[in-house]
Symmetry: C2
Subunit: 485 residues, 2 copies
Amino acid sequence: LFSNEEIMKMSVLQEINPNVRNMKPLEYSILAGRLSQIKEELRQGVKKPYQEVLDVYMGDPHKGGVKPLSFVRQVLAACLYPQLVNSSKLPADVRQRAQRLLGRCDGGSVGSYTATRGIPETLIRVSEFITRRDGGVPSNPENIFLSPGSQWSLSILHVLLNPESSPRNGVLSPVPCHNTTTMSVTGLGAVVVPYYLSEEQGWELQVEELHRAMESAKGVCNPIALYIVNPGNPDGHVQSRKSMQEVIRFVSERKLFLLADEVYQDYVFGENSEFVSYKRVLSEMGPPLSDTVELASFHSASKGWMGECGLRTGYMELVNLDPAVMKHIFTMFSTDTCAPVLGQIALDLMLNPPQPGEPSYPLYHMETQNIKNTLAGNGKRAVEVVNSLPGLCCQPLEGGAFAFPKVYLPPSFIQKAKEAGLEPDTFYCSRLLDEAGLLVGPGTEYGQKEGTYHIRFCILTSAEIMEEVLTRLTCFHKQFMKDFS
Amino acid sequence: LFSNEEIMKMSVLQEINPNVRNMKPLEYSILAGRLSQIKEELRQGVKKPYQEVLDVYMGDPHKGGVKPLSFVRQVLAACLYPQLVNSSKLPADVRQRAQRLLGRCDGGSVGSYTATRGIPETLIRVSEFITRRDGGVPSNPENIFLSPGSQWSLSILHVLLNPESSPRNGVLSPVPCHNTTTMSVTGLGAVVVPYYLSEEQGWELQVEELHRAMESAKGVCNPIALYIVNPGNPDGHVQSRKSMQEVIRFVSERKLFLLADEVYQDYVFGENSEFVSYKRVLSEMGPPLSDTVELASFHSASKGWMGECGLRTGYMELVNLDPAVMKHIFTMFSTDTCAPVLGQIALDLMLNPPQPGEPSYPLYHMETQNIKNTLAGNGKRAVEVVNSLPGLCCQPLEGGAFAFPKVYLPPSFIQKAKEAGLEPDTFYCSRLLDEAGLLVGPGTEYGQKEGTYHIRFCILTSAEIMEEVLTRLTCFHKQFMKDFS
């Protein structure tokens, strides 16, 4: 039945952590392998219908041609190489800012470790930002942790999830959802309990569906947390206050910890959409809810208008946690010393941008407005083009950095995918990559209702790249529909 | 017996992950609290016998007055703010290097994500460095993972440790040892099996002690890995080839995974000491050992001569792992997207410094030689001064960034510590901080034989700061011995 080698492998794998064994590898790794091959072929002069590959798989604005913000880069460069602080080539406020930020670093160097939760003054700046954003709702710097990215913040689950509990702990998680969350929950030995966002209603979160999901967990696991992404990734929905209030009542009744991934809070462009934080809505609802619902909210330097994904820094704010539990969270975080220092500084800049009257303000304002307008324009244009194509259908986008259209795949194509050993939408993406040089994500990576297929692509790119993405998608898809119908 | 509030707390804590609950908080947090108070008091003008606190608790060279390397900072600044690439103020090789490194970043920006394991070209540079270092032993870039720091690399234990195994998995770990390792192992639900380094023999690792530790684990846990720190932290010992060969035979016989923390590989200054990597010794021993012993080796951008702790990047090389297990390791690492990009670039620079003939070479050479000489000088001076004091005794230092002298604490002092609710050596450190404004680490943080006490302090500081550290220690300790004998 099995070769000796196969039996060897099975026994080796038997010994590793079964929770890690259960983590489903990313579909991305299949496509990334092909991407490298194609790049290599292009380098070697192999002729293809495109000169270079467009990669809009991830939410990675700089990769998509969005330019970094000058102010942010100038301050960071001056912090790294302080001789620049005295250079007349940099605006005065950049130099002052760099000097002030360096003064908060031990030894005056961004090369020193910081306190575990982050530079104390930066924690205060983060809490002040949150208070401003939430119309005065107070934020305590002691509840804030700077971390190497918002995904990493999810390691708070390591504290909350008890691997020894029986039945296992569960986490209610949206479908579709940013894929690494599911992986993290599985890796920690907990069960992902899917709740489906309603595609027909523009990917709305419906509280009845949360109740259904809780029911579905009976006999399987004991849900202890609800994970929410707002604005949505990959779906682009922005929750209404009313929906958030329902969610808060739900987690309170069911005694669930609320994990709110709010990293796309700046990216809201729907005409009647507005970002409101869970912290704010919770506070507005008053006691007893505002004193009892346990909440963790995430934000990231990878997002906002600067989009500095490479710096790997985010923050987490914890609300209503028991001080005894906070101590254990602190202990767990202290094993990693601290978040990247340049990322901490970037976060400080992101939340405290130049103000009117300061020398850097006009350029900063122009650059961020451009990105804002481009994102809104790209969102509109993507929906328009996608919906003009047969077999593709995209819900209106209100926010976030992605489009997630449904794609109809004919049975003959699904058959071919099976023969290739790939999920049907991964196979679609793989052909799109091969034939049009365009890399997008398959819906199967993010979860979807059985029998439906989707693709995801980043819309936070330059307008030119967005246009080229849509052109390639259009050409490929029209030919695809001809070939398979 | 308990108040209502206490019972509430217990029940809340009951629900969290017991492995996290078992993580012992760092002694550092006790001392850091006091440090903040003192800093605040000094700011408010409270008179103390010192004007500022010297903090040599961590291995943090920039905090200790070591200057960052100009070449590294210039290249990083130019990568962040590429207008500088065209500035005539930067040496030509800096500008070329920055341009080449930026060419490897998607969208030409350090703000883009990289591949999960790191920038492909940088992985090749790392493998080339390893091959050079190890006298030609080949290194496969596919076995290298860039990570947010070497402590983070330890999350490979998350793959290796099976939380469901009975008895529990164990990890043999040295005493004394860098504290966060113990915390990580505990947090993953495994058992730390201590093996004691021999202080009397200059903190030598003795293989008989490894056998004793294995025996001690019987009925308690099933050891699956051996963790080694070479050069030693906090002990400053550098292992001999012979000792390493014994270790390799031991792990092979006992079927243990070998985790080699080799982040201090550059810091070797003992007259007859030399750093040799475990990978190299393993290769020299030939088959079957060289084909079968599973090894993970760690290095870090926080160490080396640049000491860029704030960038939070390191690498891990894996040797002899089953490809099926490698796949799962890759999947686990892919949840975190990638290591900080500026850290990846710094690592590239650290392993590929300027060469003779290049414009930046003379300054780079001078700066690194200065740090090298300072470290060796500090090590010698620290041992000399410490050993001249009654009740303090430091083994000769051969490498690493720390001194870890034994301190004799009189019974009357131990009694006072008990009354204060502190470990005796933490109490010693707390008084040293209060009275002399000097922050060092207590031995209890790193582990020590029962009934012995130690302190740890970083010797990778400027010569001036080292002298001031030793002066403060001397003054305090002389008074301390008067007061308590």
